[in-house]
Symmetry: C2
Subunit: 316 residues, 2 copies
Amino acid sequence: MATLQVPAYVPAPSEDAEQLHHAFEGWGTNEQLIIDILAHRKAAQRNLIRKTYHEAYGKDLLRSLDEELSSDFERAVVLFTLDPAERDAYLANQSTKRFTSSNWVIMEIACTRSSHELFNVRKAYQALYQKSLEEDVAHHTKGDYRKLLVPLVSAFRYEGEEVNMSLAKAEAKILRDKISDKEYSDEEVIRIVTTRSRAQLNATLDHYNTAFGNFFNKDLKADGDDEFLKLLRAAVKCLTVPEKYFEKVLRQAINKVGTDEWALTRVVTTRAEVDMVRIKEEYQRKNSATLEKAIARDTSGDYEKMLLALIGAGDI
Amino acid sequence: MATLQVPAYVPAPSEDAEQLHHAFEGWGTNEQLIIDILAHRKAAQRNLIRKTYHEAYGKDLLRSLDEELSSDFERAVVLFTLDPAERDAYLANQSTKRFTSSNWVIMEIACTRSSHELFNVRKAYQALYQKSLEEDVAHHTKGDYRKLLVPLVSAFRYEGEEVNMSLAKAEAKILRDKISDKEYSDEEVIRIVTTRSRAQLNATLDHYNTAFGNFFNKDLKADGDDEFLKLLRAAVKCLTVPEKYFEKVLRQAINKVGTDEWALTRVVTTRAEVDMVRIKEEYQRKNSATLEKAIARDTSGDYEKMLLALIGAGDI
């Protein structure tokens, strides 16, 4: 469930665009007005505002935001304003570049979006960069990381609930054998994790737990410090219990000495419209504190206001 | 260019459906009428006929065809009547089954369809089989074949004409080094063949030829009898000169002792609406005989009439 709050009466896109234009004018920028509008509109509404703004003022709204705002606040507003598929394409592209390289963000996008959402990311990626997502990921990665990430971003998983139980049992056994032999990047392990539907994967992992008395992801933890293993574990978590994955990213971002604003912004802007309610519940369960309080303690100013608005803690 | 011939005046779908229903009735089936209708309608028109037939007679047209026709003729009519994406999904599914297993057909579908067509095949596959195409391909294959085929069927290649020449040069060098070391299934070779756009791949292969004085596919031929190598060569051919690939499949199917009707039917039904004109030209160039004559010599009866109609040699 989304934390995004949209007012009962939503102004026409032309009105919103005009208000935003006012917010940029004259001495100083009216940040609160920007938050009031952009942090309280759905993706389709934001797209229309951006379109209308461009028609009225001959300029991309994102460009105006870039000129008027700065730092973490700018990043949060711009990321959230983007259409979800474009935003993911942008994040994925950044993740294949040398200085902002991140196998984690690529994995996160590939494993927590629905099959159609991921396909839309691939379409948006081509439109923005004149290349395919998978060719950049393949070009940017090597060895085990490539073996895992390329099929993850290329997947179009079946999303039905049908489960083949004999297959689940057979594949639980395969996983068990490979993990026992510490063959974590074996092609069978990769195949099962990257191609099976979430329902099928869940059945396999349930059977793993029942048959072998331990969670698959716990067994994977044996060699805890291996970076590839951490990524593989995170992929399984994203595919089966995404709210737990996102809770951990938020917790680590907030508890870090010097908050990791990039991670915090990424999770809040990409999940506010999707499953932030569950992530907040998970956060409170794990930390005995609300995410609102943690964010309010660690951030400040307009950036704080923007994040709080997106997780449903601001006034509407 | 398609060889499919559609009459200037196309009857309403309901009229076509009624005629087909008549063709099935009474003593014997009117095969010529079936050919006159189904071999002379575009995919969208055939879909409408099928829909209308179902509404009027409470039965899938394909089921009626299955009951009334037999053998090679039945297979040609049914395959052609199917919607292209459904047809490919069916052919791919057959290719992952034990007794009809074929890495070649999977490769052919993955490498000769456009990016959007291939994605439509993946959607149709899920709708028909409640599984994803890539999970069945991955489950069905092993080793080098899996390494090649899974990314091929999962690809959503960029289709623009932009080419990065320095990348083309660098990747031509990579291909050359790997081929010299006989590392044909090296992950870099697989990456280049499975993720690059056709335009980029062509630039790379052109540079390969210029810089190293030999065609990439000729160099791959050195170890001619290796089955994986043959498949890799065919994939490159399908991606760059599909008409040459299909000409060879047709030639081999026809020249075989006892024609290979499955291959013949597959190529004619899948290409009649796409690029059969070029394939026929290529066939004539290579064999000093027309495809029409070759088919007329090797096949007979309604099956012959159906194939000839599809390659544009029948009366309309």
